[in-house]
Each structure stands twice: as structure tokens, then as C-alpha cells.
Symmetry: C2
Subunit: 340 residues, 2 copies
């Protein structure tokens, strides 16, 4: 088993009110590289921040790192277009950040990114991979891709109140700029990603197809973004069994409609509850209140914890350790060292 | 503790008779990426070959991987200018392959490579790093740098018969093309690397300086190339204690003069004998006969085995396992899958 985290950026995240994957829009571009640093090294090394939401909710990378430490496995970081810096070693499959979905082309080199990732997926020597993502703004690009493919256009949010109306307006503008109507890209996943997706979607889809083709089982570790990657895989004609391992926070988000979306894509859904309800710790209370919800493979990491010879209580203890190392010193104001 | 392998290429390796770090000159460009794949994944994933010498001697990456598996640690791969492909995740500090040392500039962006690596070395969260290299042709560039710095110009070889006369002629031509006489770059390490070095030397020196400056102990894992990186560090004015952990094969190579070179650079030398003498296995017999000798951190990996709660016999067993997985199927003719 290998946990793979695919990281990238899209200019879409700069749209005001779209994402909470960073303390502010200027810091958000550092989130993917910092997430990789946190998962791989347990702390930012070359990234200048620990990602937190505007209210201080820590990145789900903290949970994924806690699972890595508790279970003793390492993550493979894949760079599909990271804008900021990272000290995590990466396999590079992309060509820089994605554009704003409201441009004519959101991922101009979607096909090459997909092909590179597919080759990597086929080459990995594992029986099973668990694939997560980190890309601020990624639920909006996911909504764009689902709409372009003609799938159920529902996505979750890192914000407690999902700004779905805003996302829909942005996606409508993006489809218009690309000369596409909803459903026009059915059966043509690369057109959907190129027009209104992000580089991480191209890479996760390619990685999944390559892995499946070489006999590797794939668990998609995330919520609506990973379900959207699965939609791309299905529209590429791949019918292999796929599991979507997500958090209870996404599963409980009625605006996300994850169960219906997954059913329509023939995905097995597994939602794991880390037991954060009622915990008086900033790494848990914000999630219980509906922030962040998922990301950086958190749902898959929780499933691995659930399957292992350990307890969710031990996971929570480790989560607090990781959080305290990263954020406790400065009271959660994580951007003090940021090179802004 | 973290094992770091810095990989890169130099066009110097294309000079006929310079290096045995590949089955032939066309395959040699794949060696660094393949070495990283072997160390990190235990097999080539995106690299098209298992590196072997023209006579079939396997890359020392096999030994380093065996130590990783036996002791349960992971390696960090650093890309200082890999020409071929690798599926190993890397931190990138370089700007592509180095030029032939006979050009005016062998590493035109030596200063930036050094600076990037220095920043990485300072950022790594480890108490101690063990740093190895993979760069075919690297003993010739090392000879160039030692000569430019005015240090004792002696280096080892991956060939049983060290082609020192050829290396000296190449280096003399390189210094001439760079407008340098021997010793002209004393106290100016970046000039030496830019003129007649390779990108790996720039990166290892920068990594070491950054690590030492941030309180991280550094073991240089290799022979005369790593000693040359230490020379660059000394000429940068850094006087911290440094250990050179090498194999008994380099220590026993009179042409390498490693003891005198190390003494002149104030390096503690530790040579570890893996006990290959008299073993009837291709992964060991070729080394005992003087091939390869060192590389990809092998000397450091052996020292870690020697310090651990295990035996050199267990290491040799694991080495055979790794070799058999990689090479036994095709009788040691490892390039059958090569995309030449």
C-alpha cells in the first residue's frame, strides 16, 4: 500500500470567497507545497507556512501526517503544478499552476499531465494505492468538470457555508469562455479538464487509470474532488472497481450529495468518523463545526487507521501531537514566518 | 537520521573510457535516475534500466537499498540535474545536466544550485544526514575541482584500472578552457565547480554547508567525490567536523589516496568492509575484484549497518535479495527493457 498525495494550484482559488484552504488569498498559494511538507516531513521545511483556514482551522494534512506516523507508512508526493515551495520530494507530472476556470483553457496541458500521471500509475510497484489531493479552489474546478461531463453537479466546500451559488456562476462563466454547454464533454474527459478543470484532476485521473491498467487497486481518498476524478476515469471508459474513502464530515454535508454522486459513478463509498465531536482542541473542534471537512487524503488516512491494529483514540492523540508541534507555539497564528 | 542521495549528470561521462557507471555510454545517462528509483522504490519504475557496468557489475544502489530495507529507513532523493527519467520523488535543486568539463563552464548555474541545496540543508528537520551521490563521470569532475582548488589531485574510479592519465588530460583541457591554472580557485569553491565541476558537487557542498549551519551533523557517504565536496565546504570557510564514510574498496585503492586527501581536509574517515571477499555472487564478486567500489551512498549505508543491531551477514543476504529481484531474471543483462 502506498499513500499518494497529488498537489497543484489553480488561479481559480484567487476568486474571493471560493476557498478556505489558506489564511488569506496570498497565503493560499503556499498551501499545496506546505501540505506536502507536513505530510512528508511532519513540518514545513521550504514552505513558508502551516496552512490554516481564515479562522485558524488547521489543514487536513495534519490528520494525514498523524496517520502516517501512527501506522508507520510514507507518502509519495506528486507535483501536478505546485506554485509555492516545498521541501518534500516530488514526482513531477505537471506543467505549473492551472489558470482561472473563467479563461478559455483552465489546464492547457491537461493531456500531457494525464499521460505522465498514467505512466507513473502504471509504474508504481504497489498492490494498492490510496490517492489524495491538495489544490485550493479544487471543489470549484470539480464542479466545472462534473458539469462539463454532464454528471450530477454537486460539490462540497472547505467553508462551513458552501458558496455553491458563487461556484455555479464561476463555472457557468468558465464553460461559456470555453465554448461548452453542460454535458458537452461527456465521454471526453480531457476536454472537460482542459476547459474547466485543474491540473490535480488531470493527474489523479491519469494516475488512477494507469494504476488500474497495471493491476493496482485504487482507493480515492477524498470527497467531491476525488469523486470528480473518478468521473473522469469513468468517462475514459474505465469500469474497474473504485473505492471513495472520505471523512464523515463530507458524508454528512448535504450540499455535497456525495452518496448520490458516488452511486452514479459506481463508486464504493467508505466514510470514516474520526470522533472529533465534542473534543475541545482546535485541530478537532473546527472540523466538528464543519470547516475543512476533507483534503490531503484525510478520508483515506482515516480508513487506514480504522483498518489497522490501533484505535481512533490513538489517532486523535497523535493528531494533537502533530498539531502541537506545528501550531501550538504561536497560538495557531501560523503565518508568522510567512514570506508574504 | 536521514540518508540523502544527490543525483545528477555531466556530459563529461560521455568521454570514452572515463566511467563504468552504465553498461554503455548511451545507457549511462539513465544511471542517476535509475539509482534513485532503486534506492527509493527497490526497482526502476520510470527509469528504463537497472544500472550495471559494462561487465555486469551492479550499481552500488543495490547495496544502499539493501541497507534501507534491512534497517527500515527511507532515503531522500535530491535532483541536481538528472538527465534520464526517475519515478523516485525528488527535491529539485539544480538546472539540468552539467556540461563537459572541457567547455569553458561545466556548471553555469553552480551558484544557484549551491544556494538551493544550502537552503534545503538548513531546512531539513534531522539531527544528522548521511549524503551520497550518483553522477557518472563524477571522479573526473572531482579531479578537476581538487586541481582548481589546489588540493591533492587524487581520485578513485569505478573501473578496476583507474584511467588517471586520461582524467588528468581531460582536467588540464578543462582548466585551460576555463582560463584557470591549478590552485587558481583556492578559497573560491563556486568558481571551481562552475569551471570544472559537476552539478552534484555544487549540491552536496551546499547541502552540507546548510546542514552544518543549522546544527545538523553531516556524514559524507562516498569516496573521492564526497571528499571533493568536503574540499568545497572547507574552501567556503566551514570548519565543522565532517566524517567521510566510505567502503573498504575505496580505502584499499592506492590510486585514490583517500587517507591523505581526507587528512588534508580534516575529515574523519570511516571505511566499512561488507565482507564480499570470496563470495560467489555477482553482486559481491565484482566489488571484491575492484569494480564500482562505491557510490549512491554505499559507504554510509555500510556504516549504518555496522552501527545497527544487525550483522553484515544479514546485510549480504538482503543484498542478494535485492539483486535477485532486479537482475537475476535476465541473467544480469539488465538493459533488455531499455528505451535506447
Amino acid at each position: 500500500m502506498r499513500l499518494v498525495v497529488v498537489a497543484g494550484t489553480t488561479e481559480t482559488a484567487r476568486i474571493d470567497g471560493i476557498s478556505a484552504a489558506g489564511a488569506d488569498p496570498a497565503l493560499m498559494r503556499h498551501t499545496p507545497g506546505a501540505d506536502l511538507d507536513v505530510v512528508v516531513h511532519g513540518e514545513p521545511t521550504l514552505a513558508p507556512v502551516v496552512p490554516v483556514s481564515p479562522t485558524g482551522c488547521p489543514t487536513p494534512a495534519v490528520a494525514t501526517r498523524a496517520a502516517c506516523e501512527l501506522l508507520g507508512f510514507d507518502a509519495l508526493a506528486v507535483d501536478a503544478g505546485v506554485a509555492g515551495r516545498t521541501g518534500a520530494p516530488t514526482v513531477d507530472v505537471g506543467f505549473g499552476p492551472g489558470a482561472d476556470v473563467r479563461e478559455a483553457e483552465a489546464v492547457s496541458r491537461a493531456a500531457e499531465t494525464y499521460a505522465n500521471a498514467r505512466e507513473l500509475g502504471a509504474a508504481l510497484p504497489d498492490d494498492r494505492i490510496v490517492v489524495g489531493e491538495t489544490v485550493p479552489g479544487g471543489t470549484t474546478t470539480a464542479l466545472g468538470v462534473l458539469t462539463a461531463l454532464g454528471e450530477e453537479p454537486t460539490v462540497s466546500s472547505s467553508l462551513p457555508e458552501n458558496p455553491l451559488d458563487l461556484k455555479r456562476r464561476v463555472v457557468a462563466e468558465g464553460l461559456d469562455a470555453s465554448g461548452l454547454a453542460p454535458g458537452d464533454a461527456a465521454g471526453d474527459p480531457l476536454t472537460a479538464v482542459r476547459a474547466v478543470g485543474d491540473p490535480v484532476l488531470a493527474a489523479v485521473a491519469g494516475l488512477t487509470v494507469g494504476a488500474v491498467e497495471s493491476g493496482t487497486a485504487v482507493t480515492l481518498a477524498g470527497g467531491t474532488q476525488l469523486a470528480t476524478a473518478a468521473a473522469l476515469v469513468r468517462h475514459a471508459g474505465v469500469e474497474a472497481p473504485l473505492t471513495l474513502a472520505t471523512t464523515s464530515f463530507v458524508a454528512d454535508d448535504d450540499t455535497a450529495g456525495i452518496a448520490d454522486l458516488a452511486a452514479s459513478l459506481d463508486l464504493d463509498v467508505r466514510a470514516t468518523d474520526p470522533g472529533f465531536d465534542g473534543r475541545d482542541h482546535p485541530a478537532m473542534a473546527a472540523y466538528a463545526a464543519g470547516e475543512a471537512k476533507e483534503g490531503v487524503g484525510m478520508g483515506g488516512a482515516l480508513a487506514l487507521v480504522d483498518d489497522a491494529d490501533t484505535s481512533m483514540a490513538a489517532f486523535r492523540d497523535r493528531l494533537v501531537d502533530v498539531y502541537d508541534r506545528l501550531l501550538a507555539d504561536d497560538g495557531g497564528d501560523a503565518d508568522v514566518d510567512a514570506d508574504r
